[in-house]
Every structure is written in C-alpha cells, then in structure tokens.
C-alpha cells in the first residue's frame, strides 16, 4: 500500500519549502518539491530606478545576497553599456567579495545545515575531555532542554562516539570560520549580509594595503580550515555513509554560467573568460556552448496564471494562489526544454569537460582517492564533495587575486542611465546558476526577471510532465524507515536549497515524521 510522506517545513535550508514523497514497496514512486513563500520581487521592482535593483535583489536571500548583487550589477553594467569598462580593481574586488561569500556559504551548508543529518550530538553527553566548547555542550545536554536540537529523526547515525564528538567540535569551529568569511568580505564590501560596495561600474571601496593584508590572513586561516578540517570531514562522511554515492541521482544534465571573471574586456558574459567555465553537459560527455536564449520557464504547476514556456524577459508574474494544477511558488526553468541541475557539482562537471586543468586534476584525484567512478558523483555525496572542492579551489585562487589589486588605481567606471535598454547578468553563485534580466524604459525598470539556482533545482513538474531535478533525485529512492526518512532530507539538503543558518545539533526522543498518511 502506498504511503505519502510529507515534510513540511523542510528545515535547515534558506526559506520555506516542503517535500512530499509517495512511497510504495519501500521506494519513492512520486515526489513533489514546493516553495511556500511568494514575495513578488519582480512586481516590486517595476517602475524603480534601475540602480536600486542591486540593493533590492540582494534582499531576495540573506544567505546568498552577494551573488544577487553580482548578477544585478552585471545585468546593470550590460544595460548601461559598460560591461567591458569595469576597472580591474573593481573586477578583482567583486571576485573577492563573491568568493568570500562562497566560503561562508559552503562551510555553513556542510556543517550547520547538513551535518545534523549524519552527526549525533548526543554523543557529547558523556564527553570526558577538557575542551571548553564541548564541555558547555555537555552541560547543555545535562540540563535537559534540548531545543532547538530536538525533536529530530532517530536511527541512522553511524559514527563512533569519539568521531561524533570531534565532528561536533568542528561544527563549532565552523561557526567561527563562516563568521570570519563574512568579516573578510566586509573589508571590501562594507557590511554583511547585504553588502554595500558592489555597484554598477565596479565597487565603491578602495583597496588599501591594510585591507589587503587583513583579507589575506583571514583567508589563510579559512584555507587552513578547509584543507585540514572541512575536506577531511567530507571524506569521513563519504567513508561512513558510502551508500550515498548511489542515492539521490539527479537528471544527469548539468548547467553552469561560469563564475569569477578573469578578464573584463568581453561584454558577452556567456563567452567571457572565467575561472569556472560556462556551458552545459549531458550524460557526462562533451561540453556544449552556453546559449542563454535557450532558457525558458514553465508555470504549468506553479501558482501563476497559465502561459506557454517563455524566455525570462517575456515572463509575466501574475500570481494565482489557488490554481488547480499548481503546487509550488517556484517556476520550472528549462534549457532547450530539458531539465538541468545547477550547483557546485554542475559547475565542476561543466568545467571538467571544458578542459579546466585545475578542476580536472582535482576531480580526477578525488574520484581516484575515494575509489569511485566519475558517474558516482551524481549523488548526495557527489554534491557535498564538489562543494568542498569548490571551496578549496576558490579559496586558493582568492589568495592569487588579492595580489592583483592596485591601491590608488580606479575602482569604478562612470555611466549614464539610458532611456531605453535591455540587460542580462548571468553568473554562478554558491548554489548554482543565477540570471538577472532587465528592460529599462524612460530610465526606470520596465521589467526585471530573476531565474535563481533553487528555481532550477527545486522547481515543480513542467507541462511535459518532466520532474524538476530535486524531484528526480527523490524518485526511486529506497526509504528504510518511513517514520524517519533520512534518505529524503539528505537528498533534498544535498542540493543546498537556498538556505540560511545556524547552530548546534542534537536531541534524543524518537520522533514521528511529518504526516504519514495512507493514500
């Protein structure tokens, strides 16, 4: 008999999401992912000064505001006709600002959003060492009020007690590391979340030698953490939960807009030289050139008035909250009408097949060391591994970019807001491919449209009945215990659905899962 498992809310992500799975014979036969908050940014942006888009769109997400700021400024640069005029200082500082938030975001995701699905904090209850942080966690457990670390799923925690304790310690260290990543960003960005310095034309901040040095040493501490703690911990999870290389495979189509401009002279972002390359890969074979005009969005199962799939600038945002076929506020973006996964794994697969030597060498070594095949990366663990490698390569590169800054040289180009224009800003953020599109009329925003990473990954079925990437990853999954469906939440969180944050772990009492109903 089929059982429907609903997980609403899916927590430890950014924002409001639910997942539903119909389980029959221990296997997921149908799956739905739904976004449950609508704010209407595209409607709010209409009629405003185009420059305000950079500030307003950062507020789409407090975890990944930086990449929205980046996409918005690329978009405005292109609409203002200055896409190839940003001074090198501006380009490099934008890379450093975005890179710092990559590190913040990846560390936060692995430790504070994901780890509680694998690490048992209750192992600290009889901690007998002398680490003050773990002792305070032990005392907290002893007092007995375990919120917000209870209730939780019970069962599949596989680490030995001492390893659990060590991982809890790393979880606490990671809190500090992600905070330092924000602090580092702030040197050039003014404040975080929602940085103030990235603007059309470049940045507002000057690179000075004290800031460069302060940035460098914060970065060095984070690099040490990534190499000696984060990556080994991901390997530990991979070795202890190796079955997750076989769980959560997505559509197998990967899309990346590339990221980190290495040269600012080509105004075409789809072809600009970037550290991670632009393109698409199907079935782990050859790279195809990225053509943004192939991107459309379907609203068949989204709570918007019905329309045919259209390109972003042709999209109308007309909410229809009670639409019969709707089950999500997320739209369904498609590339050439097909379903594509985005994110660190997609970025790495695309750069791998684009011949990026650093990516290829790193990924080949990773696959060989873990004793897996390249195709095994299309999985829960593959996404975590790609994210950790992403953090390492970005952090290492930032150390090189930092020395390219020239104090005293220009940071920003000047511009006039055109009466009429169109623009596009595409760039990969921590969670994947982000696109902003704008049409300007009478010097104000006539149309602004965003297609964000979690729209690609977390969107619902389209008019052809094709499931979204997260839904596909859930389909066919064998669920051992429908009352504690670890598999489902581990799959969903491996995509890092645009999330937020925070702290500690633990709990005890066995919990009943969401609504467990027979259908």
């Amino acid at each position: 008999m089929a059982t429907k498992v609903k997980i609403d809310p899916l927590t430890r992500i950014e924002g409001h999401m639910k997942i539903e799975a119909t389980i029959d014979g221990g296997e997921v036969k149908d799956a739905r992912c739904a976004g449950t908050l609508f704010r209407g940014f595209e409607i709010i942006l209409k009629g405003r000064d185009p420059r305000d888009a950079q500030r307003i769109t950062q507020r789409v997400c407090g975890v990944c505001p930086t990449v929205h700021g980046t996409a918005a400024t690329l978009n405005l640069d292109s609409a203002f006709g200055i896409a190839n005029k940003v001074p090198d200082n501006g380009r490099v500082m934008r890379n450093l600002i975005l890179g710092a938030n990559y590190l913040q975001s990846h560390i936060l995701h692995f430790y504070h959003l994901t780890a509680l699905d694998y690490v048992d904090v209750t192992a600290v209850a009889d901690y007998s060492g002398d680490d003050p942080a773990l002792l305070s966690v032990r005392d907290f457990i002893a007092r007995g009020e375990l919120a917000p670390f209870a209730p939780r799923y019970e069962g599949d925690y596989r680490f030995a007690k001492e390893v659990n304790q060590k991982l809890v310690k790393h979880y606490l260290m990671a809190l500090e590391m992600r905070r330092v990543a924000h602090e580092m960003l702030t040197l050039f960005g003014g404040k975080m979340p929602h940085n103030a310095a990235v603007v059309p034309g470049g940045v507002t901040e000057q690179p000075t030698i004290d800031k460069i040095t302060g940035f460098l040493w914060r970065l060095n501490n984070i690099r040490y953490f990534i190499d000696s703690v984060y990556i080994p911990d991901v390997v530990a999870v991979a070795q202890t939960y190796p079955d997750y290389f076989g769980i959560g495979d997505g559509p197998g189509n990967f899309l990346s807009y590339g990221v980190f401009d290495l040269d600012g002279t080509n105004p075409d972002y789809a072809k600009r030289e970037r550290m991670f390359q632009q393109g698409t890969v199907k079935g782990l074979s050859d790279l195809a050139v990225l053509d943004p005009s192939n991107i459309t969005e379907s609203v068949k199962h989204s709570w918007y008035e019905d329309s045919d799939p259209v390109r972003p600038l042709e999209q109308e945002t007309k909410p229809a909250a009670r639409k019969k076929d709707g089950y999500s506020w997320i739209r369904s973006p498609r590339y050439e009408g097909e379903v594509y996964e985005v994110g660190p794994l997609a970025r790495w697969v695309v750069s791998y097949f684009a011949g990026n030597k650093k990516v290829k060498d790193t990924l080949d070594a990773c696959v060989s060391d873990l004793g897996i095949k390249l195709e095994d990366l299309n999985s829960v663990l593959g996404r975590h591994a790609a994210r950790a490698l992403d953090a390492k390569v970005v952090a290492d590169s930032m150390g090189e970019w930092l020395l390219e800054l020239n104090p005293g040289e220009p940071v920003c180009a000047t511009y006039e807001i055109p009466d009429e224009s169109e623009g596009m800003g595409i760039v990969d953020g921590p969670r994947g491919s982000l696109g902003h599109w704008i049409r300007i009329k009478d010097k104000v925003i006539d149309k602004y449209q965003l297609v964000v990473p979690t729209t690609w990954n977390g969107g619902p079925k389209d008019e052809k009945g094709q499931y979204g990437p997260m839904e596909q990853a859930l389909l066919g999954t064998k669920v051992k215990d429908a009352a504690n469906p670890f598999e489902l939440v581990r799959i969903a969180r491996s995509f890092d659905p645009c999330l937020a944050c925070s702290v500690h772990t633990l709990d005890f009492k066995g919990s009943e899962i969401a609504s467990l109903r027979v259908v």
Binding site: T11, H16, R55, C61, A142, K191, T505
Partner: protein, 294 residues
C-alpha cells in the same frame, strides 16, 4: 552546572523574509552563537530556542506541533520573535509555515496565535518592524509589519522593533539581554517607532566620520571618491542608528566606510519613501522625514 539555570522559552518564526536577519544574528561575537544557544546567556538564564526553521534539527509536522504546543502549554511565558513581514493578502496564502494534521498553516494564522499568548513580541529586521522590501509598492502580497498586523487583529501585546536590513547582531542580542536583565523595556527606553534608543538613538549623520566634509561642503561626485556622500544619495541625514560608532562584522567596516551611501535601512520609510537609493533627497524631504520619524 553549579547553580540553577532558568529556561526562558522563545520561538522564532519567519514570514516574508530572506534569512538575512538570522545570518546577521549568527555573526554575533560576544556572546557567540554557541553561547547564545547552549550557555546561560545571562547568568542563571538560558534562552531555550524551541523553534527556528534554519537552526533546528527536526523538520515536518513534529516541529509545527512544537509551535502549537508552546502557545497552548506555556501561555504568557515565552518570547515570540518574528522575522519578515506578514503577508495578509488572499487570507495569508502567500506564506505557509508547514502543516499540522494535514492542514497548511499560514504565517498569518501562526503569528496571530503565538502573539496572543506571548509575553512580548520582538520584531527583528525592517520587514518585521515596518514592512520592508516585501511591502514595497504595489505590495503584491499585502505584507504588513508586526505592529500593523497586531493592531488589525486587535491583539494588544508589547512590541519591540529591532529594524535594519539586516539588524546588527549587537542590536538583537543587546535587546534580548536587556529583557533578561531588566525585564521588558519601559516606554522611555523606546523611541516613537518602538526602537530601543540604546541602539537607534542618534542620527547617523551626526556621528559620521565624513561629517567634516559635509560641514566643509566637500562632496563626492562619483562613486569611489572621498568626501561626503550626500550628493550621491546618502540617507545618513535621515537615519537613526549607531553604525558609525559600532561598525559592522566585528568592527571591520560599514556602508559609508566602504564609500557606499547609507540607504536608510533602519527607517520606517525604507525602501519606498527613501528611494531612489542613489539619488539625493532635497531639503524639503529632510524636514518631512525628521518630523515623521522623530
């Protein structure tokens, strides 16, 4: 463990929000996040955070029941923290928090149920305090601030606003610590729009390190130039917060420090009345905003 620790229950729910307030909160330094969640943040008092969707271990209906049971079982004993504005259009359907007994619960319903029984409500962030970005024209979801919403629902409850997009972690933590040490703030501790004067008492412009340029009439004309940013649209002359003294992210920098205009993110008029953000606002407006916010 030597002396008795009292548990102070709190629940944190988010409506039309971006999680930026939560991310800012975890940038707190003294106390750090661990201290905040695990340790008695004030001697003898531990804040027991029963619900926070991005922090908590659990998911699904069991965590929704935590919310329901908090209102039912310990009325008058818990602090309600609201992040994000409350979408009220179409009966609140634009934001649902989760399901209980197979029924979706809207932010609107949950905010009302929890507020009725709460000791007090902390509105964290500008969306929650004043409506913020989601309530911007034409306010497609009928997003309301906590103050407006409670008034409409005829729920009489002490509200403290901690605006900012996002608020500085010290503002949030400091307000909570004040409640734990001194109890709910008396009226004289808050300004006309219910912000703690301790953090929002002075005009940014009055403490700005670039104030000397303003007084000398030296204005930046282009981004990245030295000088006062007033001509480039800086809203420091209309905004009340201690950013210039406190600075952000461990005292590293702040908006104006990085050469960027203040956008007035702590003000009730953010972001409609204070837009365009990069455009100078005239003398008339200065008077208007002063009257309105003071």
């Amino acid at each position: 463990m030597s002396s008795k620790v009292y548990e102070i229950p709190a629940v944190y729910i988010a409506g039309a929000a971006c999680s930026g307030c939560s991310v800012s909160l975890i940038n707190t330094i003294n106390p750090n996040v661990q201290n905040l969640l695990v340790d008695p943040v004030i001697p003898g008092k531990h804040v027991s955070l029963r619900f926070h969707a991005t922090i908590m271990a659990g998911q699904g209906e069991p965590v929704m029941k935590v919310l329901r049971d908090t209102a039912k079982e310990i009325p008058g004993e818990y602090v309600l923290i609201i992040d994000g504005s409350i979408p009220t259009g179409e009966d609140g359907i634009y934001c649902t928090l989760g399901e209980i007994d197979g029924k979706e619960v809207t932010m609107m319903e949950m905010a009302a149920d929890l507020a009725k029984k709460a000791l007090a409500v902390l509105a964290v962030g500008t969306c929650s305090s004043f409506g913020g970005i989601p309530s911007g024209e034409p306010n497609p979801t009928g997003a309301k601030s906590v103050m407006e919403f409670l008034k409409e629902q005829k729920i009489d409850k002490p509200v403290i606003n901690i605006p900012g997009c996002p608020p500085h972690p010290d503002w949030i933590v400091g307000t909570i610590a004040d409640i734990l040490i001194n109890g709910l703030p008396t009226a004289d501790k808050l300004d006309e729009v219910l912000r703690p004067k301790a953090f929002y008492g002075e005009l940014i412009h009055d403490n700005c390190p670039r104030r000397g340029f303003f007084d000398a009439g030296q204005f930046a004309r282009n981004t990245g130039e030295p000088g006062c940013l007033y001509e480039l649209g800086c809203k420091g002359p209309y905004s009340y917060a201690d950013c210039p003294n406190r600075q952000w992210n461990n005292g590293t920098n702040w908006c104006i420090g990085a050469g960027a205009q203040c956008i007035g993110c702590v003000e009730p008029d953010f972001h409609d009345q204070l837009a365009p953000m990069f455009q100078k606002i005239g003398e008339d407006d200065l008077e208007r905003f002063k009257i309105k916010t003071r």
